[in-house]
């Protein structure tokens, strides 16, 4: 079985978000980049398939040279080979098109992406990729098993979950649940050493078709002051929620 894990390179969750160039560009200054948390769950699940079912696992990112440290980390966690499509990921559709090309060329059975990237919260790349590939797609995927060329996946729905079966190739938009938080793999020394020798291939982008363009950023208006209510005066809270906030 061949697995491709799509890795998005995103600001660490504690990052302060700022913009430059007249609020048109994300400000990388002082920002630490990490593997997108949803992709970390997917990558660890892929390692399970590698260990238990002898799968080969490749990782891919669409981005500039600055993302190679993130790909090396994925190799250190245990992926076999990495690809970087050398272009700035400006639009979800363009990224999906590049990933589709990599997926087609590699003939993967299972393509693991994340439910969304925590930077632009697009939640679109895996679904677009599946549609472009003509592959099956399961979003918000919280469990995946593959047996005899057939996948069983669990999808989180609003207020519950749904179990699905599918043929391969399959694309998933994964999230926490694919593995437990405590089972997430982190690179060890040996992994880091081995990662240095693993192939990281830089690919040229194929086409440059975009659907959207991010033109201007802004930050939320500063919050007004909090109103404190005494713990012995719950009636006042109810009054405020009813008459002032009008939410009850």
């Amino acid at each position: 079985m061949k697995i491709l894990v799509c890795i998005s390179h995103v600001p660490d969750t504690t990052s302060k978000i700022n913009f430059t160039n007249d609020n048109t560009t994300f400000d990388n200054n002082g920002v630490q980049f990490v593997i997108n948390p949803n992709d970390e769950f997917g990558l660890t699940r892929a390692m399970w398939f590698k260990e238990k079912q002898n799968a080969t696992v490749d990782v891919v990112n669409v981005g500039g040279p600055e993302t190679e440290s993130t790909l090396r980390k994925a190799l250190a966690i245990g992926a076999d080979a990495a690809f970087r499509v050398n272009t700035a990921p400006t639009d979800g559709f363009a990224v999906a098109k590049e990933l589709t090309k990599v997926a087609q060329d590699g003939g993967y059975d299972l393509i693991i992406a994340g439910r969304e990237s925590i930077d632009y919260n697009g939640g679109m790349v895996p679904g677009m990729m599946a549609a472009a590939l003509g592959a099956s797609f399961v979003n918000n995927c919280i469990a995946i098993e593959i047996e005899g060329g057939k996948a069983t996946a669990v999808r989180e729905i609003d207020g519950g979950k749904e179990t699905l079966t599918s043929t391969l190739p399959l694309v998933i938009g994964g999230q926490k649940g694919l593995v437990e938080e405590s089972d997430l793999k982190i690179p060890n020394m040996r992994g880091i050493m081995m990662a240095r020798k693993k192939p990281l291939t830089v690919l040229k982008p194929t086409e440059n078709k975009t659907f959207t363009a991010s033109v201007h950023f802004e930050k939320p208006a500063p919050k007004g002051a909090i109103k404190m209510v005494d713990a012995d005066n719950i009636d006042e809270l109810i009054d405020l929620l009813h008459n002032e906030a009008k939410v009850i």
């Binding site: 919260n121 979003n139 519950g160 975009t210 959207t212 939320p220 906030a245 939410v247």
Partner: protein
């Protein structure tokens, strides 16, 4: 030309988020000087759509359960039939599942988490939240057909009575390689995505055995229950209740945080809720900087009292 909205139902009843999408679609159709069509799969109360300005209701002649590939293809056909220039969906799990597939099917740019009407239509520009609500981004959609994913509770319900024309729509049905084997859904609980109020609790509650008072409070408020990440990691509550940047996003009208410190990752996921109340023993807890109303106090004393008082309030205002 038209605006097309996808109307989602739950057990045959149109969801509130779908009526919000209709309200938004109406306003957008007015801006674009065009009509509003809705595509509806099996629902018993589609006449309701007339109250929210839908000019034409396409009732899909297809009664099978949700299958994203099949549904996306049907909505694509509806959009083509109605010559839709914009398709609007909600932010539900199903809508987020469909939208990227629609985007490819219609060759249409898709922007999720949109919070208001387009800021301009030439070029077509929408405002969406990004970086888990830490910022907004004005985004141009450069394709002929556009797809908008509307943030829950961002636009609200706006009544606008019209007499819709109803049409039965018999699309071509494609095959799907995916089979839905089983759906496991609590029928007596409000989901976090659909809730107007969310009652959420953190590690300050000390253990899973103390969640009874959280459920009681949620019950009086017809609210969904949620929790912080460590609470779900510890197994005190199911993963499906974990909210925040790496869990579920919350965009409710009222969010009550009990014994939650207000870490940046937690706040990022719940910040688009309109009114936030925090109950915490520690006056230094960061949540007090992000909330609208705060009580410094012990959850074990405050929460049962709040529940009792709310019961009285509800009885009086029923």
């Amino acid at each position: 030309m038209s605006v097309l909205v996808y109307i989602e139902s739950d057990n045959g009843t149109i969801k509130k988020a779908a009526l919000e999408v209709a309200s938004y679609g109406r306003a957008l159709a007015n801006t674009l000087n065009t009509s509003l069509s809705a595509v509806v799969f099996s629902s018993e109360n589609s006449e309701l759509l007339g109250n929210y300005g839908v000019d034409k209701v396409l009732t899909v002649d297809f009664s099978e359960k949700f299958n994203a590939k099949v549904y996306a293809d049907i909505i694509t056909q509806a959009a083509q039939k109605e010559q839709a220039s914009v398709v609007v969906l909600s932010s539900s799990a199903d809508s987020r599942y469909l939208a990227p597939m629609l985007s490819v099917g219609l060759d249409a740019g898709y922007v999720p988490n949109v919070i208001e009407l387009p800021t301009q239509t030439q070029p077509f520009t929408v405002k969406r939240s990004v970086f888990s609500n830490k910022a907004f981004c004005k985004t141009e959609i450069t394709t002929e057909v556009k797809i908008i994913g509307l943030s829950n509770n961002a636009f609200g319900l706006v009544e606008h009575a019209v007499s819709p024309q109803t049409e039965s729509f018999s699309p071509k049905i494609i095959a799907s390689e995916i089979t839905v084997e089983n759906i496991d859904k609590a029928t007596n609980k409000v989901s976090i995505a659909d809730a107007e109020t969310v009652v959420s609790a953190g590690r300050g509650l000390k253990g899973p055995e103390n969640w009874g008072m959280i459920e009681d409070l949620a019950k009086v408020l017809c609210a969904a229950t949620a929790c912080s990440k460590p609470v779900s990691d510890l197994g005190w509550r199911p993963h499906s209740e974990h909210v925040g940047q790496t869990g579920k996003p919350v965009a409710s009208n009222l969010y009550i945080a009990i014994g939650i410190s207000g870490a940046i990752q937690h706040l990022a996921g719940i910040n688009s809720s309109k009114v936030k109340v925090v109950i915490n023993t520690d006056p230094e807890a960061p949540f007090f900087k992000a909330a609208d109303y705060g009580i410094i106090g012990d959850a074990f004393e405050v929460v049962p009292k709040l529940t009792e008082k709310l019961k009285e309030f509800k009885a009086q205002n029923a």
